[in-house]
């Protein structure tokens, strides 16, 4: 490739082809839509999966596209959750969608402010700083128990019907349709962002920040921007959980939540946006299944599965997928011939 340098139209074509909707993507979303009608009895856990998928997507934006590692993404999740909860309990904004947007915006603002701390230093420093921010916020929420309810959680969150029409029912039907719609819209936006020139410059930054700045990309500016966006995404995910569960607790800030979401992303794979959603799906279903099989020892089994995934390696799974795809491709021309 270095022998024949790409000229501008070639690059443009390459980028465009990357941004094109693939068949598998369309199938993925149709399948997601179908779950609304096909598995109504599983809507409660699917709601949680959609929310966690969105949360993992927010981590993918910074980890997969900008190379910022975070062990404190729950800081934004929890902040968004409490924003939505407080907006509802104090009757400030009763319209769910507007409240969701506001919670997301407020969390993005928090992300913007804290991004300057995260910019400093190496990966190790970032892990510590992000972890620290989450711990601080959790403790603040615990301290101001007059506002947040402290360790008892935020009680009495009542969410008005969606668009004044759809009540959040006990079966989770409204909640799931709503969460899935929000996930889809924000996914589209994320897809647009990562395939835009801005998104491409982010990848350059991730690849080699020094070179990126040498070709005139403002490394810090890009980092701040994506960190802010990702924080907003996490905030919306948290707000969604509060709205659908009508409850918020300190646990939403917990380290376990940050760690879980990182695990989901690692299971699903980083840097292609679907990883978080697929990871959330696998993680949550596996957890639910194991926990109902053995309520006491499910953590042992989930640990075992995670170790197995890491040892076998996703690469090998991807090789397998590649091999299957080749088979299918090989089949196609034969069909044509026949």
């Amino acid at each position: 490739m270095s022998a024949t340098p790409l000229n501008t139209p070639d690059v443009a074509r390459l980028v465009m082809s990357r941004a094109r909707w693939r068949f598998s993507e369309i199938v993925f979303w149709i399948a997601a839509l179908a779950t609304i009608f096909l598995v109504p009895s599983r809507h409660l856990i699917l709601t949680e999966i959609a929310i966690l998928g969105l949360f993992a997507l927010s981590l993918d934006l910074i980890l997969g596209y900008a190379g910022i590692i975070s062990l404190g993404q729950a800081a934004f999740f929890g902040f968004g959750a409490y924003c939505a909860g407080l907006l509802a309990t104090h009757q400030l904004v009763t319209e769910p969608v507007l409240a969701l947007a506001l919670a997301g915006a407020a969390t993005a603002a928090l992300g913007f402010v804290t991004s300057f701390l995260v910019l400093r230093g190496s990966d190790l420093t970032r892990i510590m700083v992000t972890l620290g921010i989450a711990l601080i916020l959790r403790e603040l929420a615990n301290r101001f128990d007059g506002l947040t309810g402290g360790a008892d959680g935020l009680q009495g969150v009542t969410i008005e019907p969606l668009f004044g029409l759809f009540r959040f029912d006990m079966f989770g039907h409204t909640a799931y349709a709503y969460s899935l719609a929000v996930l889809f819209v924000l996914f589209l936006l994320a897809r647009r962002i990562v395939n835009s020139p801005f998104g491409l410059s982010l990848r350059a930054v991730k690849g080699n920040p020094l070179r990126a700045s040498a070709v005139g990309i403002s490394v810090n500016g890009r980092m701040v921007a994506i960190y802010t966006i990702a924080a907003g995404y996490a905030g919306v995910a948290g707000a969604l959980l509060t709205q659908t569960a009508q409850f918020a607790s300190l646990d939403m800030f917990s380290f376990e939540r940050s760690a879980d979401v990182l695990l989901m992303l690692i299971i699903g794979g980083t840097g292609y946006l679907y990883g978080g959603i697929i990871g959330a799906l696998i993680f949550k279903l596996m957890q639910d299944w194991l926990a109902s099989m053995t309520p006491q020892y499910w953590q042992f089994w989930i640990g075992l599965v995670l170790v197995a995934i890491v040892i076998i390696g996703r690469e090998r799974l991807e090789q397998l997928r590649g091999a299957i795809r080749k088979r299918i491709l090989r089949l196609r021309p034969q069909k044509h011939a026949a």
Partner: protein, 390 residues
């Protein structure tokens, strides 16, 4: 023709099967407990006690089989809520029960109301819980019940200055406020009020402050299971030798862990509703059976809450003749009285909360093991916080 007969036959069998299924449809109890994480000992005790009760009393009541569906919420309230929702919606449970901590019990309360499913609280101990839904009944205790009794005892036994140390959440606040109110009314003085976080607490700094205040007694509430950590740091700091008496509701000297807490706990005076040495024939049998089931482990007060909780479910079903209408079940529970391993108890018909004896106990060595030995009894104590509201 053949086909038509076959179809008819099939339909008949299907109908018979459906009819049979209705008659034998089990009564489902969704048991939501912390089986993993910091409060796992609570979950394990209640789970064991429920299994024990069903072994002793059979799994059929009023002609209907009882089916327990155990779920682990890992002490995360939004898990509790989702699990309760799934149990009600998908498994169609007739009761939800368990609830290791107050936030979990509160999170499930709106669901109990909406679905008209009785919620049996077997562990959590904040006063307000039963007010959050008309379908909640409790078989554990309220913190205030024990805290006012120990306040009375302290005031009568020459204790003037007290430092309070509680976990920073609703039950802690209940314990501290009820103790302080009763104790200061009796002429005592609370010189310092200390709080520790609920999750992974470090007691060393607060214990130092407590020692510096030089009180006559230290009033302690930590949730069941954290007593071990507390006792370790308490003796490490040498507070057991500083002449400060340790008092509190009985959570800190939970039977489940008491024997491993060390001799520094000897002499601790607590007020609570259950001790494994409670001198009654019923309790002796209960302790023996529990130990047999749990490889020699002693039942703690959480186990008794679970044992009585499942008893309440059995008795309510007997009263309704196996009918599982939520309103009828709750009505059946109101005012119910029975003999528990802890002594005589009843469900308050007004508040659906528990009325029980509170015992004042001192930690002593009995046969080489540490036990809470009861030495005074206050009979039929109602939840003082709700009683004061009237």
């Amino acid at each position: 023709m053949m086909k038509r007969i076959l179809v008819g036959l099939l339909a008949a069998t299907a109908m018979a099967a459906a009819g049979g299924a209705w008659a034998e449809e089990p009564v489902k109890v969704g048991l939501i407990l912390p089986m993993t994480g910091g409060q796992a000992s609570t979950g394990k005790q209640i789970d064991a006690a429920v299994r024990l009760y069903m072994q002793q009393h059979g799994d059929t009541v009023a002609g209907r089989k009882i089916e327990i569906i155990l779920k682990d919420d890992a002490t995360v309230p939004d898990n509790t809520k989702r699990l309760a929702q799934e149990l009600i919606v998908n498994d169609k449970v007739n009761f939800i029960a368990g609830f290791g901590i107050t936030p979990s019990a509160l999170a499930a309360a709106p669901l109990a109301t909406e679905a008209k499913v009785p919620e049996i609280v077997m562990a959590a101990g904040t006063s307000i819980i039963t007010e959050r839904s008309p379908y909640i009944a409790r078989t554990s205790f309220t913190l205030a019940q024990s805290s006012v009794i120990i306040a009375d005892w302290a005031a009568k036994n020459g204790i003037k200055k007290v430092v309070t140390l509680v976990s920073d959440y609703a039950p802690g606040a209940d314990a501290q406020n009820s103790f302080k109110e009763r104790f200061t009314a009796a002429g005592g003085q609370v010189v310092e009020e200390l709080k520790v976080p609920l999750a992974s607490p470090d007691f060393s700094p607060v214990l130092q402050r407590a020692a510096d205040a030089k009180p006559d007694a230290l009033f302690v509430f930590v949730p069941a299971g954290q007593g071990g950590t507390f006792a370790k740091q308490y003796s490490e700091r040498g507070l057991d030798k500083a002449g400060i008496k340790l008092i509190g509701p009985g959570d800190v000297t939970d039977d489940d862990i008491l024997n491993n807490m060390g001799d520094s706990m000897i002499g601790t005076v607590t007020a609570h509703f259950y001790s494994a040495t409670h001198p009654s024939a019923m309790n002796k049998d209960f302790v023996a059976a529990y130990k047999k089931l749990m490889n020699g482990q002693r039942p703690g007060f959480m186990a008794v809450g679970g044992y009585d909780g499942i008893h309440l479910i059995y008795e309510a079903l007997k009263k309704t003749g196996g009918k599982t209408d939520g309103d009828a079940l709750i009505a059946a529970m109101k005012g119910m009285k029975w003999e528990s391993p802890r002594g005589p108890i009843s469900i308050d018909p007004d508040t659906r909360d528990i009325i029980q004896n509170i015992y004042v106990r001192r930690v002593e060595k009995v046969g080489g093991e540490l036990y809470n030995v009861e030495f005074a009894t206050v009979e039929a104590v109602k939840d003082p916080i709700k009683a004061a509201k009237k």
